[in-house]
């Protein structure tokens, strides 16, 4: 009779339920700021912690390398899990305290259910707020999980998320502004205009060189109207005079 009793006591002694959920970054709607240089956006754990009405659900944020070393008996609000010492002496901090009432199930259609990790900027240096949801100090990678505590005892946890890497900003001096080639239109324009101008200059030179000589277009001279009539009259007069005698 002692054996079944012992077997009954064993699961109670371990206590933490492993919920088969992995935290993910928000997939719908598509967010421009899903990951920035110091924040990221998680999907809320709706319909995951059913039955744990009295538990406080905490988010554990850990460095990727320190995730497996995290001890579930760590307490939020203590120096061992304070945000302000992350990542130097603290390798995983706890933040974003919530209860089941904050995550009603089922999710109402059209609601955007997100958790923005890193949005509180006022308490980053405030040691009196160890559970600050402050901006992450580097690009990571980080892993997160949700942990439900009743009183100070952990009762349920989700799995660790996939590693989350944040954006790294490049320097603007890396932007090259000099490698734009010349467009075809500009080259065509320059070539054609230069050719036309050269032809006109050649024409001007030809004009000035042949100024006064009749060689170019002498047979189709555009005479001024008045002078033609006078010349004709003189020619007739000279020839007619001797014949008349």
């Amino acid at each position: 009779t002692m054996l079944p009793l012992l077997l009954l006591l064993l699961p109670v002694a371990h206590g933490i339920a492993e919920l088969g959920y992995t935290p993910i970054l928000t997939e719908s709607p598509v967010l421009e700021g899903l990951t920035t240089a110091s924040t990221f956006v998680l999907e809320q754990p709706r319909c995951i912690f059913e039955g744990y009405d009295n538990a406080d659900i905490w988010l554990v944020v850990a460095l990727d390398t320190a995730a497996s070393a995290f001890n579930n008996s760590a307490r939020p609000g203590t120096p061992e899990t304070a945000f302000q010492d992350f990542p130097d002496s603290v390798h995983a901090y706890m933040t974003l305290n919530a209860t089941l009432a904050n995550y009603p199930c089922p999710k109402r259609a059209g609601d955007i259910t997100v958790l923005r990790v890193g949005s509180e900027t006022s308490c980053t240096q405030d040691a009196a707020r160890p559970t600050c949801n402050g901006p992450l100090p580097g690009p990571g990678p980080y892993r997160v999980k949700f942990l439900a505590l009743e009183g100070s005892e952990p009762v349920a946890e989700t799995g660790w998320s996939a590693p989350i890497t944040l954006r790294t900003a490049k320097s603007p001096s890396a932007i090259s502004t000099t490698d734009s080639g010349h467009s075809g239109g500009m080259i065509a324009l320059t070539t054609i205009l230069s050719t036309l101008f050269a032809i006109l200059l050649a024409g001007l030179v030809a004009m000035l060189v042949f100024w006064g000589s009749d060689s170019c277009g002498g047979s189709s001279t555009f005479s001024k109207p008045e002078s033609v009539t006078v010349r004709r009259y003189n020619t007739h007069h000279v020839y007619d005079q001797p014949a008349a005698r």
């Binding site: 709607p29 598509v30 967010l31 421009e32 700021g33 899903l34 920035t36 240089a37 110091s38 924040t39 956006v41 955007i112 997100v114 923005r116 890193g118 949005s119 509180e120 900027t121 402050g134 901006p135 954006r167 900003a169 490049k170 320097s171 603007p172 001096s173 890396a174 932007i175 090259s176 502004t177 734009s180 080639g181 010349h182 467009s183 239109g185 500009m186 324009l189 320059t190 054609i192 205009l193 230069s194 036309l196 101008f197 032809i199 006109l200 200059l201 024409g203 001007l204 030809a206 004009m207 042949f210 170019c216 277009g217 189709s220 001279t221 555009f222 005479s223 001024k224 002078s227 033609v228």
Partner: protein, 254 residues
């Protein structure tokens, strides 16, 4: 010589017609360039900040070339009707000088248009937007704010410009509170974001997701191609008229 007279008359008529067209095009060119120089789309401060605003110099030259073309076309018409060698010689030489200036204007406009790529504006925006000193950056900041407000756009290629690169803006505004400037948010009538959290998250509908490059390059392209290609068309026509005038000139008895 009746046939030759007819040819003369036809040539004269064609040249007068050609000069009338040049005169009208000159006025049109002046009007177009005045329109561009008066900067209706407000992008001049950005171009000035790139230190490569020769597109405006090209437009200024265009104004004066247009007036010169109009005046010279009148001179040309008088010279052709009077068949005066001196007048036409003066006309041809001055026209060639005007041709050279207009050619310079067209080539400048086309070349400098090619320089204004998105990267040029991106680099300038990142380095100078919200940079408090030197004081001439206020022009850049004000222009960008107005641009983003009026065209409902953000950055050059999109709000992610502010995430992908560090900037003068980033030095004074931390990433968590300002992933991108507040002007990128959809604003209400008082100029405050409709939903600040939605804007910071990047929820569609609460922030402007397109880049402003189209709003900048549209007017700049219209300006550059208007000056360059209209000028090119005028010059092609002027070339024909000048060749005809040279031929006419060489046939005048003096």
């Amino acid at each position: 010589m009746a046939k030759s007279d007819d040819c003369v008359r036809i040539l004269q008529g064609l040249l007068v017609f050609g000069n009338v067209v040049i005169g009208m095009c000159g006025i049109a060119l002046t009007a177009e360039c005045i329109y561009f120089v008066s900067n209706p789309h407000g992008v001049y401060p950005l171009l000035k900040a790139t230190e490569n605003d020769d597109i405006y110099a090209a437009a200024w030259i265009g104004i004066f070339v247009g007036i010169a073309l109009f005046a010279l076309s009148i001179l040309g018409i008088i010279g052709i009707i009077k068949s005066s060698r001196t007048l036409l010689l003066v006309y041809i030489i001055l026209m060639l000088i005007t041709f050279a200036f207009e050619m310079a204007s067209c080539i400048t406009a086309a070349t400098h248009r090619d320089f204004l790529t998105p990267n040029v504006f991106l680099k300038q925006m990142l380095e100078r937007y919200q940079k408090s000193e030197p004081a001439n950056n206020n022009e850049v900041t004000k222009t960008w704010d107005e641009l983003m407000l009026q065209n409902h756009c953000c950055g050059v290629l999109g709000p992610s410009d502010w995430q992908e690169y560090t900037s003068a803006f980033r030095l004074t505004h931390n990433d968590a509170d300002y992933p991108w400037p507040r002007k990128c948010c959809v604003l209400d009538a008082q100029g405050l974001p409709v939903n600040l959290d939605g804007c910071k998250l990047g929820v569609p509908g609460y922030y402007n997701s397109n880049g402003c490059y189209d709003a900048i390059s549209g007017p700049v392209n219209a300006h550059a191609w208007g000056v360059a290609w209209f000028g090119f068309a005028i010059l092609c026509w002027t070339f024909c008229v000048l060749l005809g005038t040279m031929f006419y000139w060489s046939g005048i008895e003096y």
